[in-house]
Symmetry: C2
Subunit: 326 residues, 2 copies
Amino acid sequence: MSTLPTYADITDAAQRLKGVARRTALLENLLLNEKLGCRLLIKAEPLQLTGSFKIRGAYNFISRLGPEARKTGVVTFSSGNHAQGVAAAAQICKIPATVVMPEDAPTLKIENTRAYGAEVILYDRYKESREEIAKKLADDRGAPLISSYDDFYIIAGQGTVGLEIVQQASEVDARLDAVIIPCGGGGLSSGSSLAIAHDSPKTKVYIAEPQDFDDTKRSLETGTLQHNNHDNRSICDALLAPTPGDLTYAINQKLLAGGLLVSDAEVIAAMAAAFRYFKLVVEPGGAVALASVLSGKLDVTGKTIAAICSGGNVEPSQFKEALKTE
Amino acid sequence: MSTLPTYADITDAAQRLKGVARRTALLENLLLNEKLGCRLLIKAEPLQLTGSFKIRGAYNFISRLGPEARKTGVVTFSSGNHAQGVAAAAQICKIPATVVMPEDAPTLKIENTRAYGAEVILYDRYKESREEIAKKLADDRGAPLISSYDDFYIIAGQGTVGLEIVQQASEVDARLDAVIIPCGGGGLSSGSSLAIAHDSPKTKVYIAEPQDFDDTKRSLETGTLQHNNHDNRSICDALLAPTPGDLTYAINQKLLAGGLLVSDAEVIAAMAAAFRYFKLVVEPGGAVALASVLSGKLDVTGKTIAAICSGGNVEPSQFKEALKTE
């Protein structure tokens, strides 16, 4: 197995990201706190450049590449947020990017990835292997293939979210009992849990997953890498990775307190709550941690909890559906 | 005329607001910048406590009251954002608040004002005078009547938005050519223009108004206080003040570069753009400055512009309508 990143790699990524990624707000609503009987802090990554946390890891990776990358470019595969992060980071670094995306990815994500200057190659999520398509492209061009989560620099970059949460909680005199993190392949949760374990060791870190994409929860509980059933569906298009990464799992296994599962309906309700209480547009996959709090998957009474809202790249039509529940 | 606030009163308000009001984000989207041919910075006051900038002025006023206010309480009238600001500020200061609100104010605004512990008295916007109702209540109780805009401390408090914009623009190496500010009674624009004139004297400050509520623009152009026609309608419920305030106009007359007018349709399009590019929920009245940029009311080519999005307290049903244009 490759080397795992450490706390120092996250602070190093934070230095590199200065002036590129934003230190997004940690939001709080007094009325919602009263309703829930806890203090709930929301890390608002929809406000990040490209509308999700993914620019953090992507820039941390791409900005380290040597001059030859300007010729070979970079290749990646992604359902949309990592795609935009890589496209924007590559554009900033003046490196060509090619992104393999599922043809049923949200139009907004495909359009934005192209708008950031990347070449987009579409594939069928249920019939083709994005890994194989991307690997062939990378091999043909001699280009680095950037994993969307299972990579040293990607994990370290995403870990800056955890670093900021602990700093920002301290600024508002909050002592964090728990942090809940949306989990697909585990890049955000592994990086952030490394930062949180170092800076706030008494804080428990949980992941939240869509209920039929509970590969990380099951892997944590069984001690071996579990896969999701290929036929499962969820509205959380950002969290459909088939299995945890080797690196992300190795970290998460040591540091996580457990996994929380939410249904599509609970995700929809959380998107509506983010609209109402935080004036924040959150996409389905970005809302699973908030959903786990609002639907009572963790006893939060009297506690101080941070939930990461990891992205906001949602189609207007889907957002309108979420508002119907209001 | 009463004394006008100065720059020192705004920095004093900023000190007082520390730990209460948030320093909301100054957002930017690279794709939108490219599309508009300018650098556009959005001051995101929907992310403020109570969902709009109004807590700034309200807390700056209420936190200065003597102990007798705990008995008399405070009285105000407002279409909803100032109502929530006063209710929350009074709750923080442990002072009772009574708010006179139009019966057709958004349900969300009325509910939240009550949720912050205020007594709400509804009136008919088109038949009754909210000033008279509130003045009688205040006189009966010996309570301070808090103007929603035409007050020394309210103006100074709202001016902290302008103070932050100049600071935050400097942090991202932006030299502001212009700042555009939503305008109802003029509290936000007068306070912010005082701060901007002091800290960034070369920056032009414009107000944006709904096209049939152009009282400030006409007042600036004629040199005398103009009124809006009582029968006019706009979706911008937060910007329906009948005429500029005496204090706010006295400041705006000296400092503003002019007024920009937008239609309801342009406001709706701006709400949709805030959703798409900034992942921010903006209410109609909060979106007029952004609308003026997107609809080309100012030549922004090659310039750096800040637009204040002043609030995000919008009903789900109205927001869904805005997303239909996407």
